[in-house]
Each structure stands twice: as structure tokens, then as C-alpha cells.
Amino acid sequence: MIETGEILQTLRMIQEENFDIRTITLGINLLDCSDPDAEKCAQRVYDKICRTAKDLVSTGEHIETEFGIPIVNKRISVTPVSLICQADPRPIARALDRAAKEVGVNFLGGYSALMHKGATKADERLLASIPEVLSETQLLCSSVNVASTRAGINMNAVKEMGEIIKKTAELTADSDGLGCAKLVVFANAVEDNPFMAGAFCGVGEPECAINVGVSGPGVVKRALEEVKGQPFDTVAETIKRTAFKITRVGQLVAREASQRLNIPFGIVDLSLAPTPARGDSVAHILTEMGLEAAGAPGTTAALALLNDAVKKGGVMASNHVGGLSGAFIPVSEDIGMIEAAASGALTLEKLEAMTCVCSVGLDMIAIPGDTSAAAISGIIADEAAIGMINNKTTAVRVIPAVGKKAGDRVEFGGLLGFAPVMPVNPCDNTEFIARGGRIPAPLHSLRN
């Protein structure tokens, strides 16, 4: 029999420490919807999503009620659209957005292109349409993979993405560049990621799959409050134990959703995903370890320990772990990060160092509106290099704040939060980005 203390601990995690299931994401294969006629393809896409995901939201809500755990988002990820569009991809984008609204999900990801080695014609068409599509749709998220450890870095795509991010920001300037919050540039993108904006359903995935992302930075912070001043061995053990408990609930929800929807279970993503709410911050886990603010000397080490311990604790709690799994460090979505960035404790360069050891990359960072496309491409190239060399997923989701300068503030609302505009190194890199071509894959890509 479960003891009273254990029941109270679970209730406290949910009611006071913001423990939640961040997302149930349904991956749907759209390869069979392809058609040379863009409108026909769009109709097939719409029909298939509405058919496959019709019960997703209501099932999520039932599970939420029965288990007493919030499931914050219900989402859909689809096959990268560049793989199914043989013509203009914009009708498909509109169909995806409509389908997402029809089935009631919070976001739909997969307006994506995988071009780490080079671009197909469809990739080019999709890239060109991103700014317009993100300014005209509400729930659609876009991602582009520009590098991998196996293929190297596609510097043509890197160059283009700098320009696309600028253009997207300009077209969505009235909402502080919100379009860019729905656009992420990856190195080593994963096929089963349930988190936005980078979720898509990879080609190695089954017809459809349930992927679940857990969260609970507040729970980890609270657990660390109990071991104040103790050595890092104890810190790591405490995080592992907490991550195990969180992930077990993620596994339970994933299994339940899979059974009820009769859709195979894919993975649990063991992530600590913050929100702007107080008590739901990854940065505050780092400060609990003894740092004045995220960004203080020691921050990278603290994050490395956290990221590793979350995986070690979580991996035994689920039979399939995947996605991005680790600690996210978005700026605008984490009150501790926001405060650290606003006070100057946290800089873009320190964040870059932190992305060597966190689960993804530079995330939800507002930069001055006059940052050049080449500078954004340079940031992407640096981040892609970290991912390529270290065999990890990295990403860039920056938001050029049109008409704003360093120190100003942008506001996205909801889970996307708000952020101070952070300064970018002003030195010129135009010639570097203009070179184009490919940065060759590293020696350790040759593993066979």
C-alpha cells in the first residue's frame, strides 16, 4: 500500500511545484498524402490529420482528469512538408493550420526541411515560403535541419536561414516577431521530438506514434532545497531520484494515451522544460546549487551535472526514451533566465557555452532588430558546429525584435513568455557567411 507521505509528495509536486506533463504529441506520417497538385495534397493532409487526431485532445483531457496531472499541451508532429510537397507548399501550410484548429491541438510541427547535406527543389520552395507562412498561420511550427555530425554543415542553408529569420521577424513585427518563436534551425535534429517548435515526424517513424514530454524544474529545485550545502555527489543523486519519479508518470500517461487512442507508444522525452511561471525555472535549479544567477562562473558545470543526472534518473523509468531529453534553457520561457539576462549576468556567449551541455541550443532569445542576416547566420553556424562536433542536437531560435535595441523588452505571452533584448557581438562576418558551400563532416563521423 502506498504510504500517506508518498501520496502527499505527489500531490505537492503537482499542486505546488508545477509538475506537469508538458505535451502529448501525436506523430503522423504524411508521406502517403503527396500529390503533384498542391491543393489535392493539402486536402489529403487535412483529411488525414483530422481523421487520425480526432480523439487526441479529448483523450488527453480525460487522462488529465483521471490521474489528476495537468497535460499542458496536446500537439501534432507531421512528416517534414518538403518531403511531400511537389509544388507550392503554401496550400499545405494553410491546411495544416486549419487541421490543427479543427482537432483543437495547441501546436502542429513539421513545416520542415532536412537539408544538412543539400537542398532539394522542394526544400528551396519550402524555405522561401517560411516567412509568409509563419506570418499567416497561428499554430504551425517550422524547423530546418542545416547540419549533422554525419554530413557536416550546409553553409548555404545557414546563410539562407539568417535571411529567413530576419524576414519572418519583419513580417510579424506587430507581434514582437512571434513568427520567429515558431521557427527553429537545427543541427542533428531528432525524428521523435515532442517539443515545439522543432517537432516533426521523421521518415524512420511508424505510421503514427504517441510521444510524451514531461517537465518539472520546480520539483527538482524543491528536492535540491533539502540538500543545501551538500557535495555534488548528493546533488546528482537527488536529481536522479526526482527525474525517475517524474518520468514514471510520463511513461504512465504515454502508455495510457497509446492504449486509448490505439496508437503505438513512441518515446518519453525526459526533459526539464521551464515556463515563465515562478517555481518552474531551470535557471533556479542552477542558483539552488549555489550560483547567484544563471551565467555566473560555474553555470556550465552546474548545467552539465543537471542534464546528465536527469537522463540517468529518467532512463530507467521508461522503456523507450528519446526526443531531446535533458534540460532546456530557453530565455523568454524561464523567469530565472529572463532575470539573469536582464541583469547582464547571462550573455549570449555564455548561453552558447551552456548549449554544449544542455539538451538543445540557443532558445527563445530576443536580439536587436538591426542584427544583420549574416550575424544571425554566424550564430547558427557556431551552434551547428557545437552540435556537429559533439554529436548532439543543437538549435537556434532567435527573435530579431524589429525596431528594438539591446535592453528593450519583447512580449510573446503564454508559455512563450517575455524577454529582454540581448546584445549581439557587432563585428562583421559578411565575407565568412558569403562563402557558402559545406563545412565537411568531422573525422569522427566515419564510425563504420
Binding site: I2, I7, T10, H62, G68, V249
Partner: protein, 90 residues
């Protein structure tokens, strides 16, 4: 067995256990375990119950508790026991 936890918290008053237990009896829900205490003036009760005798589904039982919530002005949550088993038992 369909085990669930019913947790009841709020300002202490007379008849809380009686009111909740009577409703469960009416719904043919068997009480397996009860623990109850007063924490800083707050009534805190946890009941582990078996829903398998009830004709209602989970949502139905939850709705039946709504009038008691309003009448007693208490927080009453019902959730499946699986979440506690998953978190605390390997």
C-alpha cells in the same frame, strides 16, 4: 479493482467524513483505507477507494462529488491510484 484516491482538504467543520462517506456508499464505492488529520487548522483526509462496484465511470463519480465540494466548501480531488504506484513503486 479500480483504485482511486480521494483527497479532501479545507477548513475543518463537522460531518465532512460522514458527508463524503455517505455519498460513496450511495454510489456503491468501497472505502479501502482512510487517513485523516488536522494540519494548522486545515482538515486533510485521504481515502483510497475501489470504484469497481460503481456503475459510473470516473468522470461520473467526479461529477457526483461536485455538490459536496460546494456544500462543504472543500477541495475534493479524485485521481486514479496508478499515478502514485508509478511514481513510488518499481
Amino acid at each position: 479493482m479500480r483504485k482511486a484516491l480521494i483527497s479532501v482538504t479545507g477548513l475543518d467543520t463537522t460531518g465532512i467524513i460522514a458527508r463524503v462517506a455517505t455519498k460513496l456508499y450511495e454510489l456503491n464505492i468501497n472505502i479501502l483505507d482512510i487517513s485523516q488529520t488536522i494540519l494548522s487548522g486545515y482538515f486533510t483526509m485521504m481515502m483510497i477507494v475501489d470504484l469497481s462496484g460503481s456503475k459510473l465511470d470516473f468522470d461520473g463519480v467526479n461529477k457526483e462529488l461536485q455538490p459536496i465540494r460546494e456544500e462543504l466548501k472543500m477541495e475534493i480531488h479524485i485521481q486514479r491510484m496508478d499515478i502514485f504506484d508509478a511514481m513510488h513503486r518499481i
